[in-house]
């Protein structure tokens, strides 16, 4: 008995030793910061020399309602999410279904489609800025097709759309791979039965592929929501950090960055906005989950 408990104690010691690096890093850089963030969000923070804190209660949270830039940032982000998530999800699904049809050259297409996922956001944004140039490739193609051209980077009416196009292009293939993995699990017999009933390829797509992939779609949408709500790199590089022209590319995370690191005395406010963003993401995720569950009852 004594022997066993000694062995147990040794195993417990080993367990904690194995976990020690992970616990230290997560403790100092994730758990402690969450508590620290709660504290910051209730204070006005000044960073002159050392940090000084002044208790402000819920002020930081209330301030959002009459901060014009916060409202613009929220609106931009909401529009961005509402357009990008459905588009990229649908595109990913169509691509995956096409790729899964057993055509030759699957591997080749898969490698090609993967290029954007491998490339960093900074590089992609620069490549697109070059293509979006006034007399760049995209306007050239538009002119060639007799379509109107735009000042993609400088015109507040289209700058956010330019970022949307770029990100749909960049993200859809990543979700395509997730769909592809799931598609391979749908039994062929489902399709064969539908064929016997005289279903064409489009009907098979809507009546077999789409319903069978519902849980994966749910996952893809949640990942999409989390990713799009956090849009930052592209907006920052596109606008040189300002969120311009005329705040048209200002996103919530870019605003958090500006308030935390570019203006003085608003670090607590920035933390409060970060909390609110976290709550919005959480609610959107839960709503999506609930919605897709109800749907699958039919």
């Amino acid at each position: 008995m004594k022997m066993l408990s000694k062995k147990d104690r040794r195993e417990a010691g080993q367990g904690y030793l194995f976990l020690l690096p992970a616990l230290l890093v997560l403790g100092v850089f994730v758990i402690a910061p969450i508590l620290y963030a709660v504290f910051l969000s209730f204070h006005k923070v000044e960073l002159i020399g050392g940090a000084t804190y002044e208790f402000r209660g819920l002020d930081n949270f209330m301030k959002v309602t009459f901060d014009d830039r916060a409202i613009i940032a929220l609106k931009n982000t909401a529009i961005y999410v509402a357009i990008v998530v459905p588009t990229q999800t649908f595109l990913a699904l169509v691509l995956a279904a096409s790729l899964n049809a057993g055509l030759k050259g699957q591997k080749f297409f898969r490698i090609v489609y993967f290029l954007p996922t491998l490339t960093s956001s900074a590089v992609l944004t620069l490549i697109f800025m070059w293509m979006y140039n006034q007399n760049g490739l995209i306007n050239y193609v538009l002119k060639f097709l007799n379509l109107p051209t735009y000042n993609w980077i400088g015109d507040p009416d289209v700058a956010l759309i330019a970022i949307m196009i770029m990100n749909i292009w960049a993200t859809a293939p990543f979700f395509m791979v997730i769909y592809l993995a799931a598609l391979q699990d749908i039994p062929d017999s489902h399709y064969e039965a539908a064929e016997l009933d005289g279903a064409g390829p489009i009907q098979k797509f809507w009546h077999i592929t789409v319903p069978n992939l519902r849980p994966v779609t749910s996952f893809v949408v949640v990942m999409g929501l989390i990713g799009t709500f956090q849009l930052f790199d592209q907006s920052y590089i596109f606008s040189g950090g300002s969120g311009g022209p005329n705040n048209s590319t200002l996103t919530v995370v870019l605003l958090i960055y500006q308030y935390a690191f570019k203006t003085l005395g608003t670090m607590g406010y920035a933390t409060a906005i970060a909390f609110m963003l976290a709550i919005i993401i959480l609610v959107a995720t839960l709503l999506q989950r609930k919605f897709s569950k109800e749907e699958s009852l039919y």
């Binding site: 620069l126 590089i237 960055y257």
Partner: protein, 274 residues
């Protein structure tokens, strides 16, 4: 039968058109990186450069003397960061899967909870903590906070739970202790799981923009994404340089992908199963 081939053709059209849409930005960037400034400014649309030149690739290293340094910083941070992740995540995953001790369950739940926290919430406190530690503008400030990843701890735990116990028992009979067994027997057999992790963690470090933007203000310490951004500011209309720099930045990831291609889909599949 005829209908089928028509359907196949339609699918091919979708796939080929989308492949072209995917490749064109890269080809355009690659072609621009071999063009002279004159040709860039002229605004002519041709994919094959008129005066093919490698000069841009030389120029980015001489005109921006820090470019080599940024490349080194990025490689160093991503490599060390990835190695630490492989080690620490596996150790934690192994302990959670195979060792029994009190408090294990709550630690596991805590790690799951960590997965759900958006990083913006911890970003500002992280900055203040790093400032307090004197780790701003340092390699450790870039590496240590990201040296562990809750997603991959979880993944390694799943992997080790399904790992055959007999292997460890045999190692124990051969007189290896817990650590010997882990490092000499278990870890080498975990290669597929480690490979999937390698590419994702490396890419996350290599491509990260926001963390370095906040932590690094000293140009000497910049990583490539930041360097590229400041380079763009300096050489705003020199798109031939900017594209050459972008290509240099993209190459290592493509090489890594070529090596780990097989495990890549597995890794994504795992994220999907979660």
């Amino acid at each position: 039968m005829k209908k089928r081939t028509a359907g196949r053709k339609a699918l091919y059209v979708i796939l080929v058109v989308y492949a072209i849409i995917t490749v064109i930005p890269f080809l355009w960037a690659l072609s621009s990186s071999f063009k002279t400034l004159g040709e860039i400014v002229s605004g002519s649309i041709n994919f094959i450069p008129k005066d093919f030149t490698l000069d841009n690739y030389k120029q980015i290293f001489t005109r921006e003397p820090l470019f080599g340094r940024w490349l080194f910083n990025s490689l160093f941070i991503a490599t060390i960061g990835t190695l630490l992740n492989l080690l620490f995540n596996s150790m934690a995953g192994y302990a959670l899967a195979r060792l029994s001790f009190s408090g294990k369950k709550s630690i596991f739940l805590m790690i799951l909870a960590v997965l759900m926290i958006p990083f913006q919430v911890t970003l500002i406190p992280n900055f203040l903590i790093l400032k307090e530690l004197g780790w701003l503008n340092s390699y450790q400030g870039m590496i240590i906070p990201g040296a562990v990843n809750a997603t991959f701890i979880f993944m390694m735990r799943q992997f080790f739970i399904n790992f055959p116990k007999e292997v460890e028992e045999a190692a124990a009979i051969d007189g290896l202790g817990r650590f010997g067994t882990f490092f000499r027997i278990v870890l080498p057999l975990a290669k597929p799981a480690l490979a999937a992790q390698t590419i994702f963690v490396f890419m996350a470090f290599w491509n990260d923009f926001m963390r370095p933007l906040i932590i690094l203000s000293d140009q000497d310490m910049f990583t490539l994404p930041l360097g590229l951004n400041s380079f763009k500011g300096q050489f705003i209309s020199f798109w031939n340089y900017i594209m050459a720099a972008s290509m240099v930045f993209t190459l290592p990831i493509i090489v890594l992908y070529a090596f780990f291609n097989r495990y890549f889909v597995k890794g994504i599949k795992f994220t999907g199963d979660k």
